[in-house]
Point group: C2
Chain length 382, copies 2
């Protein structure tokens, strides 16, 4: 890959297998390990971009499948690209559409050429190919473009996983061919192979052969369970070139993230903090809370005394409980803000711990806090 094009990765510190680095893109720098909030349809649900930035997020994820259907990738392109469209000046990574076309659309049919499907919005028929996925992500002006792949379903038989992985590798090659290299714009390949060590190895070898700016581990967090996911990371990550960022797609809970960072993952994305925020689930260092629970109804304390997010500064658990009970929009907004702050604060803690060579200590403290469970309820909250 031409050294004048693509995203750049620099590794600043390591602690065990964990890595502290920076990805440099056309729209700015991402400190890794990084968590990317998901802005599915062109917004992180319920939040202004400045609120997302204030949480500490440096990069957002956008969804090719959603945006190609509405408002349309060419339209976003004519309006100046996704950064300008959603007023997010920082880096953006877009997925390839491969995962969501299989999970959301109707009457999908996969061939060597690509995936034919009907839109979940209006039933219109589309054919998504590696070449079109690259074109769409180019219109969106993604700093990091993901290769078009098939996320192998779980469970899959060995022959199914093998043929799915092999097709994804052919599509990765076509993605590379179709991608337009530019300075600051990178293309990431996606390792498939389900839970099989030899298939994952063959997939990594194929991707390295093609050459990418970063390597994602796909086909995980699809029902295989945390233990299996970590086993796959344990035998896959050592195969990946150290000089490129590693992205674990669609993961995950705070505990998933901590364990994957310990194994050498640099980037994450997940809808958990935002979706949980809309469904009254709050994340804190002492675990999760259900804000609809009556135990919070007269609790004047914030979600987390140590948190400095807009929800915890000035708003009580009782108030957020009330907002959810009364179905006020501000409930999901405040809790989404809080959850994103919690996730970013976790990432910041992980980065600092790696820099200080203190990751084991950090992880131990993280687990001890989580094991405590939520703060005891107040009398009035009963």
């Amino acid at each position: 890959m031409n050294k004048d094009t693509g995203t750049k990765f620099s590794l600043h510190a390591q602690d065990g297998l964990a890595r502290r680095g920076q990805v440099t893109t056309a729209h700015g720098v991402i400190d890794t390990p990084a968590f990317m909030p998901v802005g599915t349809v062109g917004s992180v649900k319920g939040l202004l971009p400045e609120q997302v930035a204030a949480s500490g997020a440096q990069i957002l994820l956008g969804n090719t499948y959603h945006l190609m259907l509405r408002p349309g990738a060419e339209r976003v392109g004519r309006l100046g690209g996704l950064h300008r469209f959603m007023n997010w000046p920082g880096p953006i990574l877009t997925d390839s559409g491969g995962f969501q076309v299989m999970s959301l659309s109707a009457l999908r049919k996969m061939t060597e050429e690509g995936v034919t499907f009907r839109s979940h919005l209006d039933g219109s028929k589309h054919l998504l190919t590696p070449e079109l996925s690259m074109e769409i992500q180019h219109h969106l002006d993604a700093d990091i473009t993901m290769a078009f792949d098939e996320c192998t379903p779980f469970p899959a038989t060995y022959p199914e996983a093998e043929s799915s992985m092999e097709r994804s590798m052919r599509w990765a090659s076509r993605s590379k061919q179709a991608f337009q290299p530019r300075p600051g714009y990178g293309l990431f390949g996606i390792v498939q192979g389900s839970v099989h060590e030899d298939l994952r190895r063959r997939s990594v070898e194929a991707l390295i052969d093609i050459g990418f700016d970063g390597y994602a581990v796909g086909g995980l967090a699809v029902g295989e369970g945390q233990e299996t996911m970590l086993q796959v990371l344990d035998f896959t990550l050592p195969l990946l070139p150290a000089e490129h960022p590693r992205y674990l797609m669609g993961v995950g809970t705070p505990e998933d993230i901590v364990k994957a960072v310990q194994r050498g993952i640099d980037m994450f994305d997940c809808v958990i903090p935002t979706r949980a925020g809309r469904t009254a689930r709050g994340y804190t260092p002492r675990g999760t809370l259900n804000l609809r629970n009556a135990r919070h109804q007269e609790d004047s304390r914030p979600l987390d005394e140590a948190c400095s997010c807009p929800a915890c500064i000035g708003h009580s658990r009782a108030y957020i409980h009330h907002l959810f009970r009364a179905e006020e929009m501000l409930g999901p907004i405040l809790l989404t803000l809080h959850n994103l702050h919690y996730y970013q604060s976790l990432m910041s803690g992980l980065r600092q711990a790696i820099e200080e060579g203190a990751l084991d200590h950090f992880v131990q403290a993280f687990r001890e806090q989580q094991a405590l469970g939520d703060i005891p309820k107040t009398e009035a909250g009963t």
Copy 2:
């Protein structure tokens, strides 16, 4: 009324009948003419309190009926009052519950004692009286408490309007008796009498006799039409004491507000800017827009080039159109923010015009702008 208690009103300038003043309350000063955003159930829907303040709002309205049912006024009191509960440190006015108990609850029955009704939430039975309304507004810690009244329905026969007004005046007296005077906390009386000049006069006389910190004109904006509303203001406002603020309840459109300010109204509240924001209707100096309309789908211009609200700084009409089409929460949020900024900017313009003795000029320019209609659509937006 003891001069050490209550809210204070100072009149700084007049232009014709229009007044530029300040109301001083326990939680701060309100520049008048003032518009109060409505925070029905303890939040201005979709916005953080700091976003509401940034729009220029100095005072919010809270609803006794909603808050007494959920989360309960005593609970709000135990949690430190409505300011602390919703994290709004500025002044708050609460309505008396009289209007909403008649419009929202089930099986309501009015007697001399008060109104018996069933909650629209759970069917529970309640009796709201002037005394209980005062107690609830005390728990809520309202800077401005409204007397408990009956908002006379429109149309009403003369005898109906008369007996309704007379009962409201007896309830006003009981409200005054039950209200706990404190420095910075005021009680406003409400003029009733439907569209009848003599009933309005008798109502004003009764209220002055009781003595209040401010005088509201109630029973308007209930279907009588703008012309009739203005006629009622024309014969009612000259009867009111100049040294107290005048509040036109539940009004209104920008044009309503301009015309009422010209007649000497100092305070307004209305759900229009917030409700419109949630239903894709945007307010600008050149009239209203429907952001769902396809004419905006590729329009890279902001709602209003001259507006400095968070929606207009950095977000296009095309983006807000997309958010509404995709049913993203951020659409209503951005448009509510914009509409509140527009309303506050209108109030600020009115205040400045009165100070400068240039209200006629301001109103003429306002009308000319409104008459222009929205900016012409772009080619791409067709």
